[in-house]
Symmetry: C2
Subunit: 395 residues, 2 copies
């Protein structure tokens, strides 16, 4: 068994990685808006991107590179460089070209963007700003702050993983979320760095597996963005690796960040775990769990702290999965509010269920009562803040 | 060509139909909460119901009757009689049995309910109230008010249809909507009466066709209810019928009511028509149009009157249909904001697009630019009122 110890440093926790975030005038009032991650040694890179067909320019650019080892990611907020066509990709080539001239140690750089869709990248400002980077800095916190949009806190985590043979490696990550979160293959922006000695193919396989139960199980608003990106960079500098331990660490980091993202969803006041069991297979459990995390009526009932279990039942029924009220059971944490056709809800149960709803984090468990299919999804409530943030996002 | 003239009377407009709505104490402050529709002659009945698997008791009861001619519908608001199992159906049988004893002219009555899920029907109150019905009354407005839940206005329409041969028939309807509106085979409650001489099979075929482009094209919140019901009753008393004219009238009435429902969606301030053209087939156009009408980010941008066309593009891309930004074009009414990869949006265009967004009703048109597939869906915005209504629906 490997031992996972939480450590400081975010994306700079692993050996040989550097990062920083600075303010170049994309955001107001001095807030950080441009970040980099740099590895002193070229990295194997695994990645997962959005399934949105209107794929943003940075993802198109990344994909156009084919197989490559790289050591640099440039990340800006406030502009998604999406719907910008060929010009959007040319802008990236130009920005990264200027960076390579200034910093010759950079190899195969890529770019990642988040912000408003359909506006050309403020290229000159970004080039001018990037010239001020100091590639010897290890300021993971600054980097995680620079990639925030409507996030209210920055999200990062790092582990030191000690293997049974005494060897160890480190893995650290940062992510941003908040809105347009319904990852269909990946999520918003998440960057993970490791000094584990892992090859690209193994790392990509492990990443694909972990994405399904972590970022792909999270939803803030059911809208899949144009820019969703998860990138893992491994420079091998620790010389250590163990597939099981690496997967355990990666999955744990991604699940933590996915839940942090939902907890910090636009306007969210609650993180709700939707556990669906007893479906005829895992796929149907997943459909029901995601339907629950995306239902407006469920989300507004959560905001109102109203244990309206009827909306839960209706949403499961509307999701299209095989189910029947005679076999369904529903719990709010350990309070059972509906059991296989029995209307348990009364004046005694209501305050108990309402007390669960008042918590900032709890579980809604639906047992379909048919077979062994199960899935767990993560969602948040929808309140006035969400409307406020999104009714006037661009201004 | 048949001539359609709008007339008064709602569900009582057609010959031989009677209706009323009364207050029996389910709603507060004297608001009407129990309605009936009665025909002096037994009717052929066509119907479409929700695809939600947690089908409410009144729909299960209706279906259990098999093929039948009937002349009476009892409708209550404030209680959906859903998730109530076998007991919910027994309650209906008992209520309708009492009604038949009191009014021997009633044949094969059915019931329809709307309101809170998961609470037993207040049977005694309903029986006591129904005893006060006067089956000779033609108060279509009262009936349409009694079926309202969070609706802010009642919805009804009636036509006199004059055929080329000089014969005529009448068709009238009432509906309620407001929340849990994403009809998957039908919609909330809609009752249509006609004295056209139409047989059940023809009427069912025409109803199925009309549902697709009307109620099934409407969404308030993407949540499909347990109680969606459309019932058409034809007593044949006019002696007149023409399939084309009947379809034209039925489709026109259903489209009107579907749009009224969206316009009166919970918290809605705008009725938006989403016209998608140029998809590779009609099905893909439908997927994109419905994705637009259900996107939280699009709906909140509408509420904020923000011409954020990037969210439109992103939503089309995320819907999974075949599309590419190089072929996509987007209009707000006749203002083109994005044309086949060209970023048209600038300081001159923004106020023009914003002016469209300020209207209470307008069209967002996305041309996918590939083939001839098209579909039109109807949706509304999502603002603070929606959150307010749904955060505390049960109290």
């Amino acid at each position: 068994m490997a031992i996972l110890n939480t450590i400081e440093g975010g994306v700079c926790a692993a050996k040989g990685f550097f990062a920083d975030g600075i303010h170049i005038g994309l955001k107001k009032e001095g807030a950080k808006d441009l970040a980099f991650i740099y590895s002193e040694k070229p990295c194997a890179i695994a990645s997962v991107f959005t399934t949105n067909k209107m794929t943003a320019a940075p993802i198109r650019h990344f994909r156009s590179l084919g197989e490559f080892e790289g050591n640099f990611v440039l990340i800006n907020s406030k502009n998604a460089n999406a719907m910008t066509g060929r010009a959007g990709i040319d802008d990236i080539t130009e920005v990264l070209g200027e960076l390579k001239s200034k910093f010759p140690q950079i190899q195969n750089p890529v770019m990642s963007s988040t912000g408003v869709i359909g506006v050309r990248l403020p290229k000159a400002k970004i080039i001018e700003g990037a010239m001020k980077f100091d590639l010897t800095r290890r300021e993971g916190i600054n980097a995680s702050e620079a990639i925030m949009t409507t996030d209210t806190f920055s999200k990062r985590l790092a582990y030191e993983v000690t293997l049974e043979n005494g060897q160890s490696f480190r893995i650290g990550a940062m992510a941003k979320g908040a809105g347009m979160i319904n990852p269909a293959m990946a999520t918003m922006l998440c960057f993970i760095t490791t000094d584990a000695a892992v090859d690209k193919t193994t790392m990509q396989d492990i990443l694909d597996e972990c994405v399904h139960t972590t970022f792909n199980a999270a939803s803030v608003d059911g809208d899949t963005s144009t820019n969703d990106t998860v990138v893992v960079m491994a420079n091998g500098l620790s010389g250590a690796f163990h597939a099981g331990a690496f997967k355990e660490a990666l999955e744990s980091i991604m699940l933590f960040l996915a839940k942090e993202m939902v907890r910090d969803g636009e306007g969210a006041t609650k993180l709700v775990t939707y556990k669906v069991t007893g479906a005829i297979n895992h796929k149907e459990a997943e459909i029901a769990a995601k339907a629950l995390s995306n239902s407006l009526l469920v989300k507004t009932a959560l905001f109102g702290q109203d244990p309206n279990w009827g909306r839960i039942a209706s949403t499961v029924g509307a999701s299209g999965i095989m189910c029947d009220e005679a076999f369904l059971s529903i719990w709010f944490d350990d309070i059972c509010v509906y059991k296989k056709g029995e209307l348990l809800f009364d004046e005694k149960l209501e305050p108990l269920a309402a007390a669960v709803m008042q918590k900032s984090s709890f579980t809604i468990h639906c047992d379909i009562g048919l077979q062994d299919g199960e899935f767990t999804a993560y969602g948040c409530d929808l309140g006035h803040e969400y409307v406020k943030i999104n009714a006037d996002y661009r201004t």
